[in-house]
C-alpha cells in the first residue's frame, strides 16, 4: 500500500555510486568515533533519570496532598507534559524559553536533562501515585493502631511497599529515557547519535553500517536495563526484600 508511493523525491539525490557492498572493516573505523559520544549519552541518561525520579516522587506526592492548590497545580504540570511531545518540549525549552523570559537555561546539556526529566517525571508521577494508593488500606490502619504519625506511616510502611511496586515500571521508563537521550543531538549535544550523523554526512556509503552500529550501542546500553526490569518484576512480585 505504501510501497506504491515509493518514489525518489526530487530534492533528495543520492548518487547511485554509493550502492555498494557494506564494508565490514568500516566498523573498525566507525567504532572509536561513536565511542566519543558515549560519555554525553550516558551522562544525560543518568542525570535525567535522577531528576526524573525525583520529579516523579515530588509530583506524585503533591497529587496526594490535602492542599487543593498544590494538587491542581501539579495536575496541570502532569497533563501538559503528558499531553505534548518530548521533542516539542525540548525545542520549547531550547528556543522559546530564552525568548519568553530573556534568560538562558544554562548549557544545552542541562536543557536536555531538564526536558527529559520533566517529561518522564510527569509520566512516572502517576506510577508513584498509583503505587501509594495500591498499598492496602489495612497497612495504614495497622500503622495508626501502633500510633505512628502520618509521616512515619508514609516513610516506614507505605513507601517501602509502594517503591517495590514501582520498580518494574521505573525500569521500563529508564529504557524509554535512554531512547529519549538521542533527541539531545537535535539541540547540538555531541552524543553517540551526533557522531553517527557526522560520519554519515562525511561518507553516505557508510550510513547503513554507522546507523546499525549506533543502534547496537543503544541496545547494549539497554540490555542491562532489560535484565534489571526482569529482576525488578520478580522482586516486586514477592513483596518482600530478598
Amino acid at each position: 500500500m505504501f510501497l506504491q508511493s515509493l518514489r525518489k523525491p526530487d530534492w533528495v539525490s543520492f548518487p547511485s555510486k554509493y550502492k555498494g557492498v557494506i564494508k565490514i572493516n568500516v566498523i573498525a573505523e566507525v567504532f572509536p568515533d561513536l565511542m566519543r559520544g558515549l560519555g554525553v549519552t550516558v551522562s544525560v541518561l543518568i542525570a535525567s533519570a535522577f531528576f526524573g525520579y525525583l520529579m516523579a516522587f515530588i509530583a506524585g506526592l503533591c497529587r496526594l496532598s490535602n492542599n487543593i492548590v498544590l494538587r491542581k497545580f501539579t495536575g496541570f504540570y502532569i497533563e501538559v507534559f503528558r499531553g505534548t511531545s518530548l521533542i516539542v518540549q525540548l525545542f520549547w525549552l531550547y528556543y522559546a524559553v530564552p525568548m519568553l523570559f530573556g534568560i538562558e537555561l544554562g548549557s544545552n546539556w542541562w536543557i536536555g536533562v531538564i526536558a527529559i526529566a520533566l517529561n518522564y517525571g510527569a509520566y512516572m508521577s502517576e506510577i508513584v501515585r498509583g503505587s501509594i494508593l495500591a498499598v492496602a488500606k489495612g497497612q495504614t490502619e495497622a500503622a495508626t493502631a501502633l500510633n505512628m504519625s502520618s509521616f512515619q506511616r508514609m516513610r516506614l510502611i507505605i513507601l517501602p511497599q509502594a517503591v517495590r511496586m514501582m520498580l518494574p515500571e521505573f525500569g521500563n521508563y529508564l529504557i524509554q529515557m535512554l531512547k529519549a537521550t538521542s533527541l539531545v543531538y537535535l539541540i547540538g549535544l555531541n552524543d553517540i547519535f551526533y557522531y553517527g550523523n557526522i560520519l554519515r554526512s562525511n561518507d553516505l556509503s557508510m550510513a547503513p553500517t554507522v546507523y546499525l552500529l549506533v543502534l547496537l550501542f543503544y541496545f547494549i546500553l539497554a540490555l542491562p536495563l532489560i535484565f534489571l526490569v526482569r529482576k525488578a518484576e520478580s522482586i516486586s512480585k514477592k513483596g518482600v526484600a530478598s
Partner: protein, 256 residues
C-alpha cells in the same frame, strides 16, 4: 467503683445515609474484658474502630482516661481533634485486626520492633529484646527472621498480637481476630488471647463470633443489634439466660 478508662457517650455513626450506630453508651473499666457479639452489620467493629481513631464518630463523645478523644480545646472552644491530639490520646490503645495487617516488607521481629523504636523512641536493643520475649510468649521464638508470607494464618495473627503487646497498651481491641482463619488454626490464637486475659492488667474489647470463648473469658458481654446495645451483662446472663428473642435466634445459629 473504679473510674472507667474509656467512656462512650451517646455515640452515633452514619456511613452516608446508613445509620450504623444509634446512641451507644459504654464504660470500660481498667482490666475489664468485654466481648461484643451481634449479627454482621450491627456496628460491632465500628465501635472499636472509632476508639482506635480509624473512624470518626458522627456525634457523641469518647473519653479516654479523662480526655476527649475526638475533640480538643482550642481558644476556649471544642474543635475537631487534629493528628497531634489523636496521637497523644490513643497511645494506650492497641488493636489486632481480622486480616492481621502485618507489614509484608519486614521480618516478624521488625514488625514488632518498628513501633517501639520509632513511636516510643525506645532504645533499639531494648525494643529488640522485648520483641523477642513477646514473640516467644506467643510461641514464635523460632520464626524471628521469617517474613509474614512464610507463616500460616494462625501464626500471622499471633505475630499481630505480639506486635500490639510490645507497645504495652492499657486497652487492647480485637476485631474478629479468628474470622479469617481456617477452623483448625482458631484454637492456637484463642489460646494466646486466653493467656493474655489471665494476666489481667489490660482492658480488652473482643469483637467475636466465638460464643464459648466469650463465655469463658469475658467479664461482660454486649449484644449489639440494629445500632444499639440490646443486652448487656455478665457472660452467663447474656448468653445463657437472656429472654431477648433476637438474641436467642442469633445464638441459635451459632449453637446448632
Amino acid at each position: 467503683m473504679t473510674e472507667p478508662i474509656v467512656e462512650f457517650k451517646d455515640i452515633h455513626k452514619s456511613f452516608g445515609d446508613v445509620k450504623v450506630l444509634k446512641g451507644i453508651d459504654l464504660n470500660i473499666k481498667p482490666a475489664e474484658k468485654i466481648a461484643v457479639i451481634g449479627p454482621s452489620g450491627s456496628g460491632k467493629t465500628t465501635i472499636i474502630r472509632m476508639l482506635m481513631t480509624l473512624e470518626v464518630p458522627t456525634s457523641g463523645d469518647i473519653i479516654v482516661d479523662g480526655v476527649n478523644l475526638w475533640k480538643m480545646e482550642k481558644n476556649g472552644k471544642m474543635v475537631k481533634a487534629n493528628e497531634k491530639h489523636l496521637r497523644e490520646v490513643r497511645g494506650d490503645i492497641g488493636m489486632v485486626f481480622q486480616h492481621f495487617n502485618l507489614f509484608p516488607h519486614m521480618t516478624i521481629l521488625e514488625n514488632c520492633m518498628t513501633a517501639p523504636i520509632h513511636v516510643k523512641k525506645e532504645d533499639k536493643e531494648e525494643a529488640r529484646e522485648r520483641s523477642i520475649q513477646m514473640l516467644e510468649k506467643v510461641g514464635l521464638g523460632d520464626k524471628l527472621d521469617n517474613y509474614p508470607n512464610q507463616l500460616s494464618g494462625g501464626q500471622k495473627q499471633r505475630v499481630a498480637m505480639a506486635r500490639a503487646l510490645v507497645m504495652r497498651p492499657k486497652i487492647m481491641l480485637f476485631d474478629e481476630v479468628t474470622s479469617a482463619l481456617d477452623p483448625e488454626l482458631v484454637g492456637e490464637v484463642l489460646e494466646v488471647i486466653r493467656d493474655i486475659a489471665k494476666e489481667g492488667e489490660m482492658a480488652m474489647v473482643l469483637v467475636t463470633h466465638e460464643m464459648d470463648f466469650a463465655l469463658d473469658v469475658a467479664d461482660k458481654v454486649l449484644f449489639l443489634d440494629e445500632g444499639v446495645i440490646a443486652e448487656e451483662g455478665t457472660a452467663s446472663e447474656v448468653i445463657e439466660h437472656s429472654k431477648n428473642e433476637r438474641l436467642q435466634s442469633f445464638l441459635h445459629r451459632f449453637r446448632s
